[in-house]
Symmetry: C2
Subunit: 201 residues, 2 copies
C-alpha cells in the first residue's frame, strides 16, 4: 500500500466520525456533505475516498457502511494495540471511558498509580496496579505504548523508568517536554498550544 | 507584530514548557539544548527565539527567565480568556485541574451538566450549573468559548444551543464532527487520530 500521511490519517478519522455519529442512519453520503461538515474542499474528500478504493454511485454517492469499513481497513482498526495508562486520575479515567477506543484498535490493558487507595481497584473494568510493578508488567506483556497522565513533578522520572523497561511510544498528556533516547517517540497531547492558536489568531 | 503561524505557536508553547519544567532551575539555556530535547533543528530554534526578540550571550546562551517572559508576551499569556466547560465528568474535572491554564490565560469560569447530583457542587473551585442555564449565563457573561466534554449522543443538540446563544469557539473533546455555521470555529481535540498516526506509521 502507498504510504499514508499524518494529515490523511487525520481526515480519514474525521470522515469515520461523521459516518459513525452524524450520518450513521443514512444509506448514502456524498463527498460534498462530508466536505461541508468539515469545511474543506469537496475535491480533497473525493481524492481521499478514492485512496480507500471506494466507488460512488452516480446521483447517490457512497454507501455509508462500505465507506466506513474501507476506512477502517486503511486505518488498521482491526489490528489491536495494547496500551498501559500511567497515572490513574481523572484524565486516565476519562481515557478508559472512551468506548470507541476498542473500535479503533486501542486496547487499554491496565492503569498504574502510586496511590494506595487506587491500587487494586477497577476503573471501568481496568485494574489499577502499583506503579512499582510497571517494569515487571511491561516486560511480561511486551506492551510498548503508554498514555502518560502524571503530575509534572514525576513525569521525567517515570519516563526514564518506562524507557529502561522498553517503552517506545509515549502519549504525553503532561505539560512537560520529556527527555528520551532517539528510538523513543513522544507525542505531546497538550491542548494549551491548540488553545493559544485559537486565542491569538 | 508579524502574523504568527500555528506551527510557531506550537513550538513556542513547547519551548515554554521546557523552560518551566525541564530547565527551570538553570540561569542560561542554549538553543542546542532546546533543539535536542524536541529533536528538531537548532537553526529553527534560533530563528523562533529571534522572532521573540531575545538576544543570547556568547558562550552562555539565553537567559531562561527572559526567554520565558518574552515567549509569554508573544503568546499573550497575560490576556485572560474566559471559558465554560460543558459536561462535568472526568475529562472536565481533569481540565479544571490543569493548574497551568491560568498561567496561559485560560480562565475556566464554570461547568455545566444535566446530572442533578453534580449541579450546585464545586469541582476544583468551579461551580457546576444546570445545563438549562447555559443560554442565560453565556449571554450574561459574554463568554464565547467552550470546552465540549459531552457524550456523543447529545453533542450536536447542545452545540446547536451553544451556537444560538452566541458561542464562537468550540474545543470539541467528543468523537462527533459538529455541524456549525461558517462563523463558528471548532477544533477537534481527538486523540484517536493522533494514536492512529502512531499505530500505522
Amino acid at each position: 500500500m502507498e504510504a499514508i500521511s499524518a494529515k490523511l490519517i487525520h481526515r480519514l478519522t474525521l470522515y469515520h466520525c461523521i459516518l459513525s455519529y452524524s450520518l450513521e442512519k443514512r444509506e448514502y453520503v456524498s463527498s460534498a456533505e462530508i466536505a461541508s461538515l468539515l469545511k474543506i474542499d469537496d475535491s480533497l474528500v473525493r481524492k481521499d475516498i478514492s485512496f480507500c478504493n471506494v466507488q460512488g454511485l452516480p446521483k447517490h454517492g457512497y454507501k455509508v457502511l462500505e465507506l466506513k469499513q474501507k476506512i477502517e481497513n486503511v486505518l488498521s482498526f482491526h489490528y489491536a494495540k495494547d496500551v498501559f495508562v500511567v497515572g490513574a486520575g481523572h484524565l486516565a479515567t476519562a481515557l478508559t471511558q472512551y468506548s470507541d477506543f476498542k473500535d479503533y484498535g486501542i486496547n487499554i490493558l491496565a492503569l498504574f498509580d502510586n496511590n494506595e487507595e487506587k491500587i487494586g481497584k477497577m476503573i471501568n473494568g481496568k485494574r489499577v496496579f502499583d506503579i512499582k510493578r510497571l517494569d515487571e508488567l511491561i516486560k511480561r506483556t511486551r506492551v510498548d505504548t503508554v498514555f502518560l497522565t502524571l503530575p509534572p513533578q514525576c513525569a521525567q522520572d517515570i519516563t526514564n523508568k518506562l524507557v529502561d523497561s522498553g517503552i517506545k511510544y509515549i502519549f504525553n498528556f503532561t505539560p512537560c517536554v520529556l527527555r528520551v533516547p532517539q528510538d523513543v517517540k513522544v507525542r505531546h497531547e497538550n491542548i494549551i498550544s491548540s488553545f493559544l492558536q485559537m486565542k491569538i489568531s
